[in-house]
């Protein structure tokens, strides 16, 4: 065991190591050099003067935000457990990856399509011309099918077993009635209340207290004023804390970018343009999967069809972005490898495929779609999405023991429901409508495509604010609680699904508040 002091110095060492050589580092150096010409910098107190200058000119804040981001993304868990501490989880993830890869390869063989090929000069020209209207193109994709759908993934999670845990005696009332049989520790409602204090009934809340019947003077006006201040101060940590009570619509885009420390500097725009030209040069098999997914989901969606073309742009660029690979250092998943022709099985010929290491599944584009309401500049939209993916969304489709991972969310959902609505749970189980079979698809997409967009954004405010996906499981349980009366009357899975088919009328924050804070325990 390390003591606190040495752990801290290790952390500091790691952060310094990671920030060295970044663009920010060189910018800071240049600023420091340039300020030497300024009259207020004196030789006798050079160090302090430079420091003061960096502080006043806002560079210190930028450094703080960068450090804050590093702390979130990379050091939340001890380094040895970065990917996944539990062996049986690692094993399950690896075998799941194998299945996906096999399915992808067999699709290649069946259809006779290469994983990647270089476009001809004419093809490249054509793609450049229709870059902004890829949606009007209708290639024949009937042979392509999504590599997997959430349903397939759920079956894998149901099959998860901890070899050291005996889970016989399933009939007992103390036993878990749900589908997830692995023993992970998840929070009970009391712990939840402590973890989400800002959602309490006494705290002001966007999504509740901005309703037209509530005088704005009670909460909204002041909250908006503080929000403006947070944006002008450019402080990531403050923005994150602020987001727990909800972001005002007009400030959300800036606040989220600030929380994620996602910039849109000229070099970010340049990077996006490079990705775009990578898309134009090479045609990848996954492009068809992306295309098909958008057509099957967002293109038919009342809220998101407008953004179809933005989705292609962002997702195609995403698949080429090798910077995404970084997140595999803390993701239980491992990027799939393929072999360059003629070198099957030889390590030297192995390449990550697709270049970002992420194989899209059915519904993947819904991670991007809601963000299109916030950012109308593709490069900015792209940066925010990539950061959101690397912080949160990857956890929703990889097998891990993380408290934000999909396995924990499933278990969390089932435990909340079993503890607080045992009658409902028992009834649904008896009629063959296991609640998780309905809620799983909501959670895999963090509810995107199920809630009305304004409500979804309020939910995602809290994901960002608490830096955790747990709230997604709470909402899933709260939805069941809200429709409990109707659900008690259903006699089949199909009937239960019908009761829960339309979530677009739900108001997220009241549901969460009532479930967490106004339910007897």
């Amino acid at each position: 065991m390390m003591d606190e002091g040495s752990e801290l110095s290790v952390t500091i060492g790691q952060v310094v190591q990671r920030l060295k050589g970044t663009h920010l580092h060189s910018q800071l150096e240049r600023q420091a050099k340039e300020c030497l010409h300024r009259p207020e910098i004196k030789l006798e107190c050079l160090k302090d003067d430079v420091r003061n200058f960096l502080k006043k000119s806002g560079w210190e804040r930028k450094l703080q935000n960068a450090v804050y981001r590093e702390l979130h993304v990379h050091l939340a868990v001890p380094p040895q457990h970065m990917k996944e501490p539990l062996a049986y989880m690692r094993k399950a993830q690896a075998s799941w990856e194998n299945r996906i890869l096999k399915s992808l390869n067999s699709m290649c063989t069946e259809l006779g399509v290469p994983l990647a090929h270089k476009r001809s000069a004419q093809e490249q020209k054509d793609l450049i011309n229709k870059w902004n209207e890829m949606g009007t193109d209708e290639p024949d994709l009937s042979h392509f099918r999504p590599v997997y759908a959430p349903k397939d993934f759920l079956e894998v999670l149901i099959g998860l077993q901890n070899p050291n845990h005996d889970c016989r005696d399933r009939a007992g009332s103390r036993c878990h009635w749900g589908l997830i049989q692995v023993p992970l520790s998840v929070r009970g409602i009391q712990d939840m209340r402590e973890a989400f204090p800002e959602l309490g009934l006494m705290a002001g809340q966007l999504g509740v207290d901005d309703h037209t019947h509530v005088p704005p003077d009670l909460f909204e006006t002041e909250h908006v004023r503080i929000g403006k201040r947070v944006v002008s101060e450019q402080d990531s940590a403050a923005a994150q804390q602020y987001s727990r009570q909800g972001c005002p619509t007009g400030l959300r885009a800036d606040l989220w970018a600030l929380i994620l420390n996602s910039t849109n500097e000229p070099e970010d725009v340049m990077h996006y343009d490079q990705l775009k030209s990578a898309v134009i040069i090479h045609d990848l098999l996954v492009d068809n999967l992306i295309y098909k997914d958008v057509k099957l989901t967002a293109s038919n969606d009342d809220y998101y069809f407008v953004f179809e073309d933005y989705l292609y742009q962002v997702l195609l660029c995403f698949s080429r972005d090798t910077a995404v690979l970084e997140h595999f250092s803390y993701n239980s998943a491992t990027p799939p490898k393929s072999y360059i022709r003629g070198g099957q099985g030889k390590e030297d010929y192995a390449v990550v495929y697709p270049p970002n290491g992420v194989i899209p599944f059915h519904g993947f584009s819904m991670y991007v779609a809601p963000l299109c309401f916030l950012y109308n500049e593709p490069s900015r939209l792209y940066r925010v999405f990539r950061e959101m993916y690397a912080r949160y969304f990857f956890r929703l489709h990889s097998i891990s023991s993380s408290s934000s991972g999909i396995v924990s969310l499933c278990l969390q959902f089932e435990k909340l429901l079993q503890t607080h609505l045992p009658q409902l749970f028992y009834h649904l189980r008896e009629v063959g409508a296991q609640p998780l079979r309905i809620a799983f698809k909501w959670m895999v997409r963090a509810f995107s495509g199920y809630l009305a967009t304004d409500q979804l954004l309020l939910l995602w405010d809290r994901i960002l604010g608490y830096d955790s996906l747990e709230i997604v499981a709470v909402l899933a349980a709260a939805v069941f609680a809200f429709r409990a009366e109707n659900l008690m009357e259903v006699m089949s899975l199909a009937a239960a699904e019908a009761v829960l088919a339309d979530l677009s009328t739900l108001k997220v924050m009241p549901l969460l508040q009532i479930f967490l804070f106004a339910t007897a325990t």
Partner: protein, 454 residues
Amino acid sequence: MDTILYKVAHLDQVSDVQVLIHYRGPGGGSIMAGKVKWVTDIEKSVLINNFEKRGWIQVSDNEDWNFYWMSVQTIRSVFSVDTGYRLSDDQMVNHFPNHYELTRKDLMIKNIKRYRKEIEKEGSPLAEKDENGKYLHLDFVPVTFMLPADYNLFVEEFRKSPSSTWIMKPCGKAQGKGIFLINKLSQIKKWSRDSRTSTFMAASSGKEAYVISLYIDNPLLIGGKKFDLRLYVLVTTYRPLKCYMYKLGFCRFCTVKYTPSTSELDNMFVHLTNVAIQKHGDDYNHVHGGKWTVSNLRLYLESTRGKEVTNKLFDQIHWIMVQSLKAVAPVMNNDKHCFECYGYDIIIDDRLKPWLIEVNASPSLTSSTANDRILKYNLMNDTLNIVTPNGEIPDCRWNRSPPREALGNYQVLFDEEQAQSENAERDLRSRSGQSLGPRGTRANSVRPAPATWK
């Protein structure tokens, strides 16, 4: 699969609404007073379901009727001098006799131009102009001329900005029929030659008259796509003016990417957003029909542009609606048996300025999607709740002041009576030295207060 279930659930909501109305009927005085007898020559289920759920009785148009939802063709004969009916106090129809003063493209323009001049003559601050001679507050329709009547004026305007694009529309047609774009004078010369030889008679009788309007070539694009707004406005009387705005309008999106390049001038899908046109495009989607709710638009604009400018845009939209109605109020035959639900078409440009394109007297009651059906069902329901209070036999002498609860998704857009009494109150207060309370400051912060809309 999801989408289908979702629609079904939505349709359930409609039946909820229907049940509600059903309960209301027998309990009230409607049975005592007798049932409303209705006729329609527009066989649309959103309409008929609404009549039936109120327990109204269908009759034919040569029987006694109380409520006739009719097409614009029928209204012409109802009020024509030779065949005209004499409507009794318990009869209502859904059009004003000369609604075309607002709903024919050429007459609307004529009335608005006249209205501006009148306001200017009065010396009203609303007629204020900028340094280029453009109205600051009254410049809400694109520059428009009648053809062939105003041909010379048009040529003069065209020569001022020869690179501009213009859109030609036949005055009396709807749903995007007969519309084309031009960007060269030679094109219009050719058109006038062709039409003169073929339909000269029609042209001289005014039936084939066209309007030509400056084409808004900087429309606001969302997701790279062009769209227009369809909003509904209900008028129950023109003098005094009482009008209501429906909160649930929608945006209609082009399925093809917008490119202002002139090579695309022939591709009507790029330019016209009418569903009637777009339905023929290859990319037409039957799930959403290219329609996006106004609440989506608001969320998007507030998120990307901020709350203040978004509020200002919607205030301006309300403003131009009221102005257009005020422009026609003096010439409208304010028959007490009439009310009308208009479909306003508005385009927003990339500086977030709204432009009034046209007003439709018979907004389509055809439902292209499940959500569309719900919207139009509710639109009819809320309209009937206002114009036939409690679903009872109408009395055309009614006070036209529905209680707030009866408005449904309508909100008061302008109430001349109320505005006048508020004005009087204001005068009284300012004379007695009292300050104006906080009342009315919220909605009126951007524009001159409704009370000053004269």
